[in-house]
């Protein structure tokens, strides 16, 4: 089943605030073998928040995505500043583009990650490849 064609251009509600703890930073840094003191987070850490937004997209029954058919095609981060301990972050996901190639849906997403003051911290661009049943 192809995903809902009206998805392109849709913006999902912002995720609930995520409080960045020192422990979570250290857990993430250790899982990637990086040495951090837990005050600021590794560059790819914002994916934790962006994933919450992506899951809301993927689990929306009207959208028609099956998680195990999803492969991450592309990812890019641009940062205003590193994520820091104590940040309360939200991600607001917009589907920038949707196209079909060879039975797969190519879904371009952009998650704007902002802090408790509404200031921009990071933008996470993700391209999700949703393989069709026959792909």
């Amino acid at each position: 089943m192809a995903v809902d064609a009206s998805l392109a251009g849709r913006t999902f509600p912002p995720t609930e605030p995520y409080t960045v703890s020192r422990e979570k930073i250290l857990e993430f840094a250790r899982a990637t073998g990086s040495e951090y003191d837990g005050r600021s987070a590794p560059g790819t850490f914002p994916i934790v928040i962006a994933f919450t937004a992506m899951h809301a997209l993927m689990e929306d029954p009207d959208v028609g995505i099956a998680l195990h058919r999803v492969v991450h095609g592309e990812q890019r981060f641009t940062y205003t500043r590193p994520v820091a301990e104590g940040d309360r972050l939200r991600a607001e996901l917009t589907v920038d583009s949707l196209r079909q190639i060879g039975g797969a849906d190519i879904i371009g997403t952009r998650s704007e990650i902002t802090d408790a003051d509404g200031e921009h911290v990071c933008t996470a661009f993700a391209t999700l490849v949703h393989r069709g049943e026959d792909a």
Partner: protein, 134 residues
């Protein structure tokens, strides 16, 4: 580390095992079964369990931190996930190698072209980053 235009940055080699993928799944919240179940991975046409693309990207970030000499200097980081990093169910795992070259230094920062390989294959497409100037 010398971060001038043309500088070749020392290659960083990281070993990746199934245990690393499980740990990363927990830390990142990405529990897609293609990263821990051979049954599901092969059912969608993959050769076996593959590393999270974001895990491989995090290794690129780790190399950038090493080259920058301090954390928190990455201003931009992006790549395509072109080839899967297949991680066998054994104690050896696989090796991922991250190398880089400084393309130029501008007002925006230090622009780095990365190369991320597993075996003799490039696993990330056009990986690149911008570091804040020191």
């Amino acid at each position: 580390m010398n971060l001038e235009t043309g500088s070749t940055l020392p290659a960083q080699t990281y070993r990746v095992t199934r245990a690393d993928l499980v740990r990363y799944a927990g830390a990142s919240g990405d529990f897609n079964p293609i990263h821990w179940s051979d049954r599901v991975a092969t059912s969608v046409g993959l050769p076996g369990v593959i590393a999270h693309g974001m895990f491989t990207m995090a290794l690129a970030g780790r190399a950038l931190d090493t080259w920058a000499g301090a954390p928190g200097r990455v201003r931009e980081l992006g790549c395509k996930f072109t080839k899967p990093v297949v991680v066998p169910d054994d104690d050896e795992g696989v090796e991922v190698v991250v190398s880089g070259t400084v393309k130029n230094v501008t007002e925006d920062g230090v622009h780095i072209a990365l190369e991320v390989t597993c075996g003799d294959q490039k696993v990330l497409g056009q990986p690149k980053a911008v570091l804040a100037r020191g």
